[in-house]
């Protein structure tokens, strides 16, 4: 016959949720995100991403499109050329190699083809995608519609600060 043991210590019984016991939560950094990629999809987003990249971040890479991606048909991930905010060239394939989340930042006139290719490349690699569209709702409707199919999470906001807050919350 098995014996059921009843917990008796403060940390192993119902009292474990008290403020006193919660002080004993292990206080060491938890290993986590190491590969946030933030990609601007238009000129307005370029400016936002460049400004935000000047803050101290962890392992995040801040990127903009090196040129327009005119047409999706027949093109693969290698058709999206990127550059970092210092101007150094990169590629979508290289950036996705060790990415664990891709955040597409957009305002108006975003490159829908780029969003499609980035989204599809992330889906294939099981990388989480998020879309942050900055601007008044009425002015960004077309951008939202273009990004919606490719972003597992989509936030529309009139406030650029949202990008900072999301990245901070995600430990980018």
């Amino acid at each position: 016959m098995s014996t059921t043991f009843r917990p008796i210590l403060g940390s192993s019984c119902a009292r474990a949720t008290s403020a006193v016991e919660m002080r004993y939560r292990i206080d060491r950094p938890i290993r986590g995100r190491r590969g946030a990629r933030i990609i601007a999809l238009d000129a307005g987003a370029d400016a936002i991403v460049t400004r935000i990249s000047r803050n101290p971040w962890g392992h995040a890479h801040f990127l903009t499109l090196a040129g327009p991606v005119a047409d999706v048909s027949g093109l693969g991930s290698d058709s999206v050329a990127l550059r970092d905010t210092a101007g150094a060239p990169s590629s979508l394939l290289a950036e996705l190699d060790d990415a664990d989340v891709v955040i597409m930042v957009a305002t108006t006139g975003s490159d829908a083809a780029a969003a499609t290719i980035v989204g599809a490349a992330c889906t294939v690699r099981a990388i989480m995608t998020a879309g942050l569209v900055i601007g008044e709702r009425a002015t960004v409707n077309a951008t939202v519609a273009a990004i919606r199919p490719h972003a597992r999470v989509l936030m529309v906001s009139g406030d650029e600060q949202d990008v900072m807050d999301v990245l901070s919350a995600l430990r980018a």
Binding site: R25, M128, V153
Partner: protein, 428 residues
């Protein structure tokens, strides 16, 4: 992850704190009307936003919320005699009306004017629906009364309960806008709870465990949309409104009543979870009301005579590992409300958000914190009235709808997300 100072800013609500001042801009639930059942009934101790008070209903049916302690020697007026249109301290007979004004001080001469000079702090207490609401801010800035639909429909269409939750209000509230936990923690309830089960929406819910999320600003707060695959060319959207600071509604299921919550700070380590169910166009059935009283849906089975859940931290929420193994419940804890409270309380009285590791699916929570922070700072620095004070912001509904895949829920559901008198909720 949230910086420690922001966590403190958003979680502390005592008098003089920035978030405490924000809460004091709103009418908030103070207690249930059933707690003051009749004129001259016993007073009820109430603690809200770190202030201790007593609630009374006088001989004339007037409600009042006044400082708990007698101005004379500081005895608790909970021991008072509620009679003759006032509450009398049994220690030396000082008597107060519902506004806290002293009306009799027996030790003073018969026509002394001392009495007129003595007034306890008091707050208005108003019955709307099943709830007694109070406004604890500057009387000069008292806004119009709240206009939430659940409180304004005829009494036979609405039911409200409350339960003590032993943690800070913010971590309880954040559960209310966190759509992604439903398919996990509450998955058992979708199959069996009488107030949830048997809808097409549940099939969509369980058929797609990786929803996409969309967060959109609203005048009074946010709309958080979660979309799942429905049919070949459609998505199933569940849309949760949040009205600042702490009102949320759960997207409906079929023709079941619609439910939602308020999370009201008692102090920094405790809050009241007010849970309501209502139907916009029909009376609740006897079976539905009984299910709510029995603790189904968003309600809880409380210890008789109290608002403490029968399953609580002192008994490990009556966790049933066998039921968990059988799949009756996902966590082993019974009931939607206690499934939530057990995990939210397990985080500690005030969760240390510097240690959390959010993911992008938590964007609703991230955005809500940002809106709260901005509102707190705008009020503190510029005196700006926060969103959600204007009763027009209260006229929202949740919705659960099937939309074409290319539709924006914000555009397509504008009417569904608004109160429309005589029109049922939008739900599948």
């Amino acid at each position: 992850m949230l910086r420690a100072e922001i966590n403190e800013l958003l979680t502390k609500t005592d008098p003089g704190t920035p978030m405490g001042e924000l809460f004091r801009q709103y009418w908030i639930p103070a207690l249930l009307a059933e707690e003051l059942r009749e004129n001259d009934c016993p007073p009820v101790r109430v603690k809200l936003l770190g202030e201790r008070m007593v609630a009374i209903r006088d001989s004339d049916g007037r409600y009042g919320l006044i400082d708990e302690f007698c101005a004379h020697r500081g005895a608790s007026l909970w021991f008072g005699r509620n009679e003759g249109s006032g509450l009398r301290c049994p220690y030396h007979g000082w008597k107060y009306d519902v506004t806290g004004q002293a009306v009799e001080i027996p030790s003073e001469p018969e026509h002394s004017n001392f009495c007129a000079h003595v007034k306890l702090t008091s707050y208005p207490l108003v019955k709307i629906g099943d709830v007694l609401w109070t406004f604890m801010g500057d009387p000069a800035k008292q806004p119009p009364l709240p206009e939430f639909e659940f409180a304004l429909v005829p009494p036979e269409r609405t039911y409200t309960s409350k339960r003590w939750q032993e943690c800070n209000w913010l971590q309880a509230f954040e559960g209310g806008i966190d759509s992604s936990h439903v398919s996990w923690l509450h998955s058992g309830g979708l199959k069996s709870d009488p107030l949830f089960k048997g809808t097409k929406g549940n099939e969509y819910n369980m058929g797609d465990l990786k929803p996409y999320f969309e967060v959109a600003d609203a005048e009074g707060g946010l709309f958080v949309g979660a979309r799942r695959n429905a049919e070949e060319d459609t998505y199933y959207w569940r849309i949760t409104p949040w009205v600042m600071p702490c009102f949320t509604m759960v997207p409906p299921r079929g023709d079941h009543p619609v439910h939602g919550h308020f999370w009201i700070p008692i102090d920094d380590e405790n809050c009241w979870a007010y849970s309501f169910d209502y139907h916009p166009v029909r009376a609740l059935t006897a079976e539905e009301v009984q299910a709510m009283k029995d603790g189904h849906g968003v309600h809880s089975e409380n210890i008789p005579g109290t608002y403490r859940p029968a399953a609580n931290k002192d008994n490990d929420y009556l966790i049933d590992r066998a039921a968990q193994k059988r799949g009756d419940t996902y966590s082993g804890v019974k009931g939607i409300a206690i499934q939530d409270s057990s995990l939210q309380e397990s985080m500690g009285p005030i969760v240390d958000r510097t240690k959390e590791m959010l993911v992008s699916a938590d964007s609703g929570i991230i955005k809500a914190r940002q809106k709260l922070k901005k509102a707190v700072e705008a009020l503190r620095d510029k005196g700006t009235t926060p969103p959600g004070v204007d009763p027009a912001h209260h006229h929202v509904r949740s919705a659960a709808v099937v939309l074409p895949r290319d539709a924006s829920f914000v555009e397509a559901c504008r009417e569904d997300l608004s109160v429309r008198e005589g029109v049922r909720q939008s739900s599948v």
